[in-house]
């Protein structure tokens, strides 16, 4: 089954890319924005039918490789 993971920077970590994107959007006329934060999205097809087991595997992946927990948080979403 497919499991997705979203990795985002923690609140107090500076995100210079997000800031530049914000400025660009602002320049394009999207003025009603207070902040942009950039993150990463993974879609992982796990050979597992039990959703809880599949999510547990992806959680382990996030902790060990996909996210760096000093600066990032992760959220797991079951997609299929």
């Amino acid at each position: 089954m497919k499991v997705s993971a979203i990795i985002t920077l923690k609140k107090d970590v500076l995100d210079p890319q997000g800031k530049v994107i914000h400025q660009a959007l602002d320049g394009m006329g999207f003025e009603n924005i207070s902040e942009v934060r950039q993150g990463k999205y993974f879609e992982i097809d796990v050979n597992e039918n039990d959703p809880n087991k599949a999510k547990a595997v992806v959680e382990d992946m996030c902790k060990k490789l996909l996210a760096n927990l000093v600066i990032e948080n992760f959220k797991i979403i079951e997609t299929q």
Partner: protein, 227 residues
């Protein structure tokens, strides 16, 4: 003195480091990332470059490669491990030194000479060095050192800050911080001071006519300290 330089796919300062280590008397071996055993070494170097194309996060893939388990064991048993630039990024991803390296504050790749100030000489890397301010070269996109407040307190309490970005006179100020690093930090030790990660490249400063010789001073002193 025996040294090993680990080459990952995408490393590009491995041969410069090999030249530098040999020039100052190390018997150096190049070790491919896919090996599982380290040769007998007094010093292991993780060189600069773009291991695995900087995919995911700089250094993250290399930190999980086969040889790294031996490097981690070597470091944990007190062996000297030095990570330069991408090697520093690999070290933080293994957790051997605290913190992370983020994108440079102004999103530029920075390639220039900088001055760094040594903070702590009670370690094998800097003991007996007769200079406190060295001119090294930096070339990186992700050198913006960051750690949590708790980590920073621990790092300061244990004297783990190895070098700071500064000016020629050794002043550590915001305007001499090239990349936005917390407290102008350019290099960090582990608690035991046998593992050193730093963004600047001493191996690029070993030729009088090309670059100046602050790297020579560093390597000569290092091999004497290991002997």
């Amino acid at each position: 003195m025996r040294s090993s330089v680990i080459t990952f796919p995408g490393s590009n300062c491995d041969r410069d480091m090999d030249v530098a280590l040999k020039k100052f008397g190390f018997n150096n071996k190049m070790v491919w990332h896919d090996e599982s055993e380290l040769p007998k070494s007094d010093l292991v170097v993780l060189p600069g470059g773009f291991s695995y194309g900087d995919y995911l996060r700089c250094g993250s893939m290399a930190s999980k490669s086969k040889i790294m388990q031996s490097v981690i064991n070597f470091a944990k048993s007190g062996g000297l491990v030095m990570g330069i630039c991408n090697g520093f990024q690999i070290l933080v991803e293994t957790g051997l030194v605290p913190g992370v390296l983020l994108r440079n504050k102004y999103l530029e790749f920075i390639c220039k000479n900088v001055f760094v100030k040594l903070d702590n000489k009670e370690n094998t890397y800097f003991k007996n060095l007769n200079k406190d301010i060295l001119e090294f070269h930096i070339a990186h996109n992700e050198g913006n050192y960051f750690c949590t407040k708790d980590q920073l307190k621990e790092i300061e309490d244990n004297n783990q800050i190895a070098i700071y970005y500064c000016n020629k006179e050794g002043k550590i100020e915001d305007q001499h911080n090239p990349n936005g690093s917390i407290k102008n930090i350019a290099g960090i030790f582990n608690k035991e001071k046998n593992v050193l990660g730093m963004m600047p490249h001493p191996e690029r400063m070993i030729d009088q006519s090309l670059s100046g010789e602050d790297g020579s001073i560093f390597f000569k002193n290092l091999i004497n300290n290991i002997k």
